[in-house]
Amino acid sequence: MENIIEIKNLTKKFKELTAVDDITFNVKKGEIFAFLGPNGAGKTTTIKMLTTLANPTSGSILINRYDPTKQQEEARASFGIVFQDPSLDDDLTAYENMNFHGMLYKVKIKDRRERIKQLLTFVELWDRKNDLVKHFSGGMKRRLEIARGFLHHPKILFLDEPTIGLDPQTRNHIWTYLKKMNREEGTTVFLTTHYMEEADKVSDRIAIIDHGKIVAQGTSEELKTQTNTNSLEDAFLSLTGKAIREETVKNQAMSGRARAWRH
């Protein structure tokens, strides 16, 4: 299976801080890949670099064979992203948000209409298509964002904490949608999450980042064997330590940046 994301020696340095330190890993086409790590580990920074929102200090990235720093538009057209905080327009309806996205991503009008209908029905929001998004619950907004992420047939869908703050029913639905799209359309799913059991259940492969370095990667089974533990959560704790990450002066710079992104 070929690689759809290739990361080699990727580094990101801020003034005093090295947020991402020479990491190398690949994501295979069509797989569900979980990117895990404690707070301040460098996850957010890595994703920003993958999604053209930040430039690497050194190293290389290939998204769908494009270099996001040099071929920005082609790279962006290859992926969709669902941010942790909603990035919808509250003053527009669900349908309008979808349509807008379609226009931004140059989806042809006929395809756009059919696709919007297909996706909104899929996430069970078709009957709310003309309602303003500001009236939607958190779960509904997340479902809409996922539908929107798939609109332009992306090769990869990035998801930052896709199920955080959602009730179990919605969470279940979201994984059903994601797995279905992954199976039927071959969309590679790249997610970050703190919910270890979920990551364990759905992902094909996992990478764990800590202090800017990849500390482990492989399938869930491999990680459990490697750390001699029975659950992904225990494996994770064993690899990253049980100490709560204190906000040292170093980490504050990074969390501040992460917080800014979360807005």
Binding site: R76, I81, S87, M103, Y105
Partner: protein, 242 residues
């Protein structure tokens, strides 16, 4: 220019009525209040004089506000959606600016229509296209300026400062409310540096009044200013780091 239509669309859902309030208030209060004083000073009908200023005022404020609302987008996350899309930044900025400007111009026309109710009279309706050009330039210039400012500010705190120290002076020192003759030297300089002065003067000239600077001068200065502001706005917008 898809973006423009969307922006235009959702702006009209919210605050058109609200922002009509201020211009109308000014028009009525100042127009009828200062009218007699103006007349006495030998300057003629104040309403005729004031209306171009009021039109410009409504365009100015709405345009700046449209531009600045990039900050809202940033805070509410919508901006990220546009930044991650495979579209060049300048196109996004341009679409946004056109959308904001369109709404501002629409507003200008509404105020214009209301002015007739207050006693404004127009001899020659054929000048309207030229008036439109000036209104459009003002709208574009200040939407771009709003966007430029918003690209640099990170949250709404600076907004108050901007309103009081930038927008108000631009408005008050543009000849919208009073004639620009016999001003103290310092004030005169500021007036000449204010792009809005040329816009107001242009509109006033076309609507049958006196022109301070000359119609052609107004047009050229305003156009150049608009082009520069759009350039600056585009540049700053493209530099936004989320």
């Amino acid at each position: 220019m898809w973006l423009r239509e969307v922006k235009k669309y959702f702006r009209s859902k919210s605050r058109i009525i609200g922002s009509l309030g201020q211009p109308i208030l000014f028009l009525v209060a100042l127009g009828f209040g200062l009218g007699p004083v103006f007349q006495k000073a030998g300057q003629g009908n104040y309403i005729q004089f004031l209306v171009p200023g009021i039109i410009s005022m409504s365009i100015l404020f709405l345009a700046i506000f449209s531009g600045i609302s990039v900050i809202w987008d940033r805070q509410f996350g919508f901006l990220k959606e546009t930044l991650v899309a495979p579209v060049p930044r300048w196109q996004i900025m341009l679409g946004r600016t056109l959308g904001g400007a369109t709404v501002a111009i629409l507003q200008g026309f509404i105020v214009f229509a209301i002015a007739f109710l207050a006693g404004f009279r127009l001899e020659n309706f054929a000048v309207l296209p030229i008036t439109f050009v000036f209104m459009a330039l003002i709208a574009l210039a200040f939407t771009a300026l709003g966007t430029a400012i918003a690209s640099v500010l990170e949250d709404m705190h600076g907004f108050q400062l901007i309103m009081n120290f930038l927008v108000m002076p631009i408005f008050f020192l543009s000849g919208a409310l009073f004639p620009l003759t016999n001003l103290p030297k310092a004030l005169n300089i500021i007036v000449r540096l204010d792009p809005l002065s040329y816009g107001v003067d242009g509109i006033r000239a076309t609507l049958g009044g006196i022109s301070q600077f000359g119609l052609m001068t107004d047009f050229w200065v305003l156009s150049v200013a608009t082009a520069i502001l759009i350039g600056i706005g585009s540049y700053l917008f493209s530099k936004i780091q989320v």
